[in-house]
């Protein structure tokens, strides 16, 4: 297996998913150098009435560009982070993004927990390993991890964790939890 990888740099993909305004951009920015990738779509007035801003009052613009981050582990081994477009009209990009992905982080906001249902459904159906990171917004009620697990009807082996996506150390813990989960998933499949 190593011979396949010896010549090319090894590039791993991690997806950052979750509802609109949940903190995907912030998470990617906390842990890596972030650059936007422009997609084909241009934001138009189609977003009016579609992008539901309830509970995300401070968010006034939407991210049409796709978040893209990079963590260099060593020369020749790089982890790429791609923020999945939050709005449903960009779902056509998900299949491509998730192909060959190491796993996904689904960010949840307890004020709008249902927003992450589509992401969870998607990764469950594709068998992509994922973790759920509950972003602790300042004004959100504190919920226990068990409450969130039950509300999301997650399998027991799916890691659920509280996080603060603004903090680098917290973002790091989430990434480590995901790669460890992917490793366990791999080991149990073999």
């Amino acid at each position: 297996m190593d011979s396949v990888l010896s010549e090319d740099p090894v590039a791993l993909k991690i997806l950052i998913a979750g509802g609109f305004g949940v903190g995907k951009t912030t998470l990617v920015g906390s842990i890596s150098e972030i650059k936007p990738l422009r997609t084909e779509e241009v934001l138009s007035d189609r977003g009016v009435g579609i992008d539901d801003l309830d509970g995300v009052e401070s968010k006034t613009t939407t991210t049409v560009a796709m978040d893209f981050g990079r963590i260099t582990i060593r020369e020749g081994l790089v982890v790429y982070l791609f923020g999945t477009p939050g709005q449903e009209r960009f779902w056509f990009m998900w299949d491509e993004l998730s192909y060959g992905a190491l796993g996904a982080v689904v960010i949840a906001d307890t004020r709008r927990l249902t927003d992450c249902f589509p992401s969870i459904d998607y990764f469950e159906q594709r068998g992509t390993p994922f973790v759920v990171a509950v972003n602790c917004f300042d004004d959100a009620d504190a919920h226990s991890i068990e409450d969130v697990r039950i509300a999301l009807d997650l399998d027991d082996d799916v890691p659920v964790m509280l996080c603060d996506v603004r903090r680098r150390s917290s973002a790091k813990e989430v990434m480590i939890a995901l790669v460890e989960h992917s490793l366990r998933t791999l080991a149990s499949a073999n």
């Binding site: 297996m1 582990i73 982890v79």
Partner: protein, 120 residues
């Protein structure tokens, strides 16, 4: 009654503005390039190459991912893929797809990633 020319559909000509660089096309042999595929320069720039092609050829002297190229060129992903498809067809670059599932199913690499993340 009007005798002014009326344009419908194709008669209006190609809609090129967002895609002028690639002559209005939105598809090419580069459609399937993975965002983390590796691009390498393997040929010399032809005399008629544009600034974007030259930029790509410079950037890909060392292996670079498609996503990194897209970020560096600051062009839409679809446009970069068409450019890359053309350039590969002309033998200017090589594009290597990541070994399907190769790296993510390699325990040693995943452990290395975990250790690398801890050391950040």
């Amino acid at each position: 009654m009007s005798d002014r020319p009326q344009w419908f559909d194709e008669e209006a000509g190609p809609v090129v503005r967002p895609y002028a660089l690639i002559r209005g096309r939105t598809r090419s042999s580069g459609d399937a390039f993975d965002l983390v595929a590796t691009v390498r320069t393997i040929g010399d720039p032809p005399d008629d190459s544009g600034p974007e092609q030259q930029h790509i050829l410079r950037a890909a002297r060392n292996p670079i991912s498609v996503a990194d190229l897209v970020a560096e060129l600051d062009l839409p992903i679809g446009v970069v893929r068409v450019l890359l498809g053309d350039m590969r067809d002309h033998g200017l670059i090589s594009v290597t797809s990541p070994a399907a599932g190769g790296a993510r199913s390699n325990e040693r690499i995943l452990k290395e990633v975990i250790n690398g993340l801890r050391a950040l």
